[in-house]
Amino acid sequence: MKNRVAIVGAGMTLFRRRMLESPKELSFEATRMALDSAGLELKDIQSVVSGSAPDAFDGMHMKGEYLLDGMGGIGKPNQRVYVGGGTGVFTPIGGWWNVASGMYDTCLCVAEEKMSPLHPHPQYAFWSIFDQILERPLGTTLLWIFSLEMRRYMHKYGIKEEEIASVAVKNKGNAVDHPCAQLGAKITVEDVMNSEPICWPVKRLDVSPPSDGAAAVVLASEKVAKKLTDQPVWLDGVGWTLDSTHWTNRDLAYPEYVEKAAWMAYKMAGIKKPRKEIDIAEVYDPFDYKELHHMEGLQLAGKGEAPQMAVDGVTQRDGDLPVCPSGGLLGVGNPIAAAGMMKICEVFWQLRGEAGKRQVKKDARTGLAQAWGDLMQVGTVAVMRS
């Protein structure tokens, strides 16, 4: 790789169902925090990459333009990257190419989402992601895709709902220690199994909530990073892949797009045996079964084997491969783009030993953050090293 890129600062706001702050204000808070943590001022930033998923939530066309002053982008080169739910991890990837290409030495990456403005419910915006002619007339909702995939995954490998529910229990429990968490709570597998079915087999406690929130990181080139901090976290591998639009023509039991994105990032980072070399993983968990599904795509578990790892406690904070020590989307909240960025911030803090009560037991040197998006299509992966 030509130029090594490091994350030198991170910040985020609270994640809540409804926040008073406007989208610009949310962006500002996260940005300010990230700059402060890196000891930088806005004038030190040479370019800005923003990430925010569907315009429909905030209620604006060309949302990126509206947000840019809150993100410190006036008078600077701005790019808004957008790959649906994968945007959160893709935003720092956008920052990566700004710096690795040699164009800029510092880049601010901000992800923001304000889902609460949409009435009657943010869920409604997801109706418009489906094919206008062949799917929307059937009354689609995003939950359908997930429940169809969950069903297929369970069927193919004979996985039980209880095994999947253990992920929700772990993540919501982990989130109790996250200061920004929306739904941190100590629950049991029974609580999950008894929660109301929304779109069977998906039940209420299997799903992450809609949220408002923002998060940001500051990226810097090697020479600048070394001046700013003695603990840069290197963004050593980035990968992203998009699968075919025709999701009904694919076998949903395995996320091939996550695998391809993962290998792209692993190759760049020089990782050959992911299960051994990755110490901690923030895997995208909008639904509990998704954490397991993605773990397999990320080569952290064999096909159909992730549930056993979860049940055995391997993925707990004190386990051999902590997964979502932050509490993930299930526990902290799911402001679409900001959620992925929250994962990046978590790995950043974990690799520096600054995650407080959430700090994993093992000595973590290599971490991974992954996000997913679209119609079961996008995998975005970032590999970080301390």
Partner: protein, 173 residues
């Protein structure tokens, strides 16, 4: 000094549902109604026209030999135009299914919607379409179940995906 020690609080103010009921905060409400008339294009226009006739049509790529449904004028694997129209059956197999208790706007439904991906017979295995299931007990649905399309009457059909009402199990026919 460690960065995390610098952070004393995380910014943000929550608004609770009670705050909203009390009218504590001002808001600006507006409606947005973008209107579109999407060009279906060559492939889907034909697909819809055939649906009006009570038939399902697919496209074949002579290179990879796949029979594609929903039909498309280009094969995305070979990246070349597809070659032939092929009629396929209106029966298929349930690839996966779900029982939805919420509507598009997250409101609870009185009668759950049964939704499935149905792999259609005559197309390449695994080529499915999204549709509803009907005339079946939710607890009896299984992956791998054989189903048949139930069509609207020819005078009701409009050339839309809803010309098929739903798929029902081929069981004891």
């Amino acid at each position: 000094m460690k960065v995390s020690q610098k952070i004393t609080s995380y910014p943000g103010h929550e608004i609770t549902p009670e705050d909203i009921k009390e009218g504590k905060y001002l808001d600006a409400v507006y409606k947005f109604e973008p209107k579109y008339s999407w060009a279906a294009g060559v492939a889907i226009s034909r697909f819809l026209a055939e649906l009006k006739e009570g038939k399902i049509i697919a496209r074949k790529c002579m290179n990879c030999k796949r029979i594609l449904v929903p039909p498309r004028m280009y094969c995305e694997q070979c990246f070349r135009p597809t070659d032939e129209w092929i009629q396929i059956k209106d029966t298929g197999t349930v690839n996966t299914y779900s029982i939805s208790h919420v509507g598009t706007d997250a409101r609870r439904l009185k009668t759950p919607i049964l939704v499935a991906v149905v792999d259609l017979d005559g197309a390449t295995p695994g080529m499915g379409i999204l549709h509803n299931l009907g005339e079946v007990e939710p607890s009896k649905i299984k992956v791998g179940m054989k189903v048949r399309a139930v069509w609207k009457s020819s005078s009701e059909r409009q050339g839309a995906i809803t010309d098929i009402r739903y798929f029902k199990p081929i069981g004891d026919e």
